[in-house]
């Protein structure tokens, strides 16, 4: 099945983290937004990332998938320092990282199923085999009946599920989700969470940025999740009160 077929791909070598940050700093040009951040995302780990709005959660995730480059320190994706990766190398690394963007980001002129299949198309892997996987994935996120709709015609929750399906189509080793439950009701957020927990049980490394503390509590009942908080430009392990 789709969700297993590439899961055996080796994560980073020698037990190193799939994504490693070492004293990373980032600034958009003004003062530093993030300072001295060190973190090793171990393969198969489950992380939450919290912090007040504007703290830099989205920025942190963008660093993790190579959309932004650190302005200080070292960042390694799959054991390669990003300073030594050109844009093509970043693009290839990104195929191993499924990203659920905070505002989803679709090609509005293409129907939902093609948007979900976009990573396949763009990496030249579109094939009849993958067609089957696509259908399976659409069923899994419950979007089969919306497959031919255009993204602007979707509800917020449907968009989030489509974004998750797109993040999963290449069977990536890592899933970075930015507020994946931002636009959905409690029930739908629990469904999305169960999908992510299931993926983690299959061995995927997961990091979810959210300010929804109830979501974190619900997750902690299902998996062993670490909660990180960005506060005053630094990354801290959140207390056990969560």
């Amino acid at each position: 099945m789709l969700l297993h077929n590439k899961a055996s791909r080796k994560p980073g070598r020698g037990g190193a983290g799939v994504i490693e940050l070492e004293n990373v700093a980032y600034s958009y040009g003004g003062g530093e937004l993030l300072t001295d951040i060190s973190l090793k995302l171990a393969p198969g780990s489950f992380h939450f990332l919290t912090g007040p709005s504007g703290a830099g959660k989205t920025t942190f995730l963008k660093l993790c998938y190579g959309a932004l480059r650190p302005t200080g320190g070292h960042l390694r994706l799959f054991d390669r320092d990003v300073t030594q990766m050109d844009r093509d190398a970043i693009a290839l690394a990104r195929r191993r990282i499924g990203v659920v963007h905070q505002d989803c980001q679709f090609l509005d002129h293409l129907p939902v199923d093609e948007n979900v299949a976009l990573p396949l198309i763009a990496s030249g892997q579109a094939s009849p085999d993958e067609q089957e996987n696509l259908a399976e994935l659409m069923t899994w996120v419950g979007l089969t009946n919306r497959a031919h709709a255009l993204p602007p015609e979707l509800s917020g929750g449907e968009r989030q599920r489509a974004a998750l399906a797109r993040a999963l189509i290449l069977s990536p080793e890592v899933i970075l989700a930015d507020e994946p439950t931002g636009n959905v009701d409690w029930e739908m957020s629990q469904r999305l969470l169960r999908l992510l927990v299931e993926l983690n049980r299959m061995g995927k490394t997961i990091m979810i940025a959210t300010h929804d503390l109830s979501l974190i509590r619900a997750a902690k009942a299902q998996v062993q999740a670490r909660v990180l908080r960005i506060s005053q430009r630094r990354l801290q392990l959140a207390g056990a009160d969560l």
Binding site: A67, R87, A91, R94, V99, L107, H109, L110, I121
Partner: protein, 301 residues
């Protein structure tokens, strides 16, 4: 810039997926279609003009334009003396490179089309012809006429081909200007496509961001745009060139007398040349979109 072979290969591959990631028929793409069509139409005319001017210049060749004829009509017994006198005058006239009396055989060959090959030229009172070749600078026709009439009463200077000299120069210039126009048309097409591609890429920054998010390489993103613009430029240019050819085919034909105006057409293998206009337009669009894409993708990095 060296053409990127990998992109070219991808372009030729039928990959509907790559084509669809760029939003359909934007304003800029229609602009490219129209520009390519208009430019191809103009290019076909400029080509026809250039080639026709070239043919004209060739057929009114330099040799013809530089030669004139002195005709001597005299009683048989004076013919030799007057011919010798005329040759003397011609040889001492500045601007004349060579003057040569035609032999009986040559004169007979000239008359053969009218009187047949057996005409006894020597026995008939046909005028003696002297072939005059002038230098680049040319001679003073009025002065030569005066000297001839004073010294050789039976001589008539016939310089009918001299009037063509400025025309040949004009035809040569016209051919040159035709090629200049074609070059300008190619450059203008490149500039227009570059502007259109730039605008399309900038307007689709969001599309580019999404493609990057899902792991598309720059080559893939550029290829999608390059393919779209190249195909539209080819389609537009094919339409424009076809219309241009039809317009030229419909030019009224005036036979021999029409000369230059009715000569505005393609002859023989020259018909192949306008067929090269659409692929050339596609090539120009390919290169300019590729360059625009590289620049914009660099900026959006």
């Amino acid at each position: 810039m060296k053409p990127d072979l990998a992109t070219l290969k991808r372009l030729l591959k039928t990959d509907a997926g790559a084509d669809r990631v760029v939003p359909p028929a934007g304003f800029t793409v229609r602009l490219t279609l129209f520009t390519a069509a208009a430019m191809a139409f103009l290019a076909v005319f400029a080509l026809a003009l250039s080639l026709a001017a070239g043919r004209l210049a060739d057929s009114w060749g330099e040799a013809l334009a530089r030669s004139s004829t002195v005709r001597i009509s005299a009683p048989a017994e004076q013919m030799a003396a007057q011919t010798a006198a005329a040759l003397r005058v011609l040889q001492t006239t500045p601007g004349i490179a060579d003057a040569r009396a035609l032999s009986d055989d040559e004169q007979q060959a000239l008359l053969a089309p009218w009187f047949g090959p057996d005409l006894p030229v020597a026995d008939l009172p046909v005028p003696q012809l002297i072939d005059v070749i002038e230098t680049d600078a040319g001679y003073d026709a009025a002065g030569l006429r005066l000297r001839l009439s004073a010294e050789v009463p039976g001589a008539v200077l016939d310089d009918h081909t001299r009037w063509r000299r400025p025309l040949i120069a004009a035809a040569d210039r016209l051919r040159f200007l035709g090629w200049v126009s074609i070059t300008l048309i190619a450059l203008a097409t490149g500039a227009m496509v570059t502007l259109a591609a730039n605008a399309a890429l900038a307007a689709n920054a969001q599309v580019i961001a999404v493609l990057r998010l899902v792991g598309a390489t720059d080559a893939y993103i550029a290829g999608a745009f390059v393919r779209r613009f190249t195909l539209r430029a080819f389609g537009g240019a094919a339409t424009g060139a076809a219309l241009g050819l039809v317009a030229i085919l419909l030019m009224p034909s005036g036979g021999e007398t029409g000369g230059f105006l009715t000569g505005l057409r393609f002859e023989g293998w020259h018909w192949i040349i306008p067929l090269l206009v659409p692929p050339m337009a596609a090539g120009v669009a390919f290169l300019s979109t590729q360059m625009a894409a590289r620049r914009v993708l660099e900026e959006l990095a």
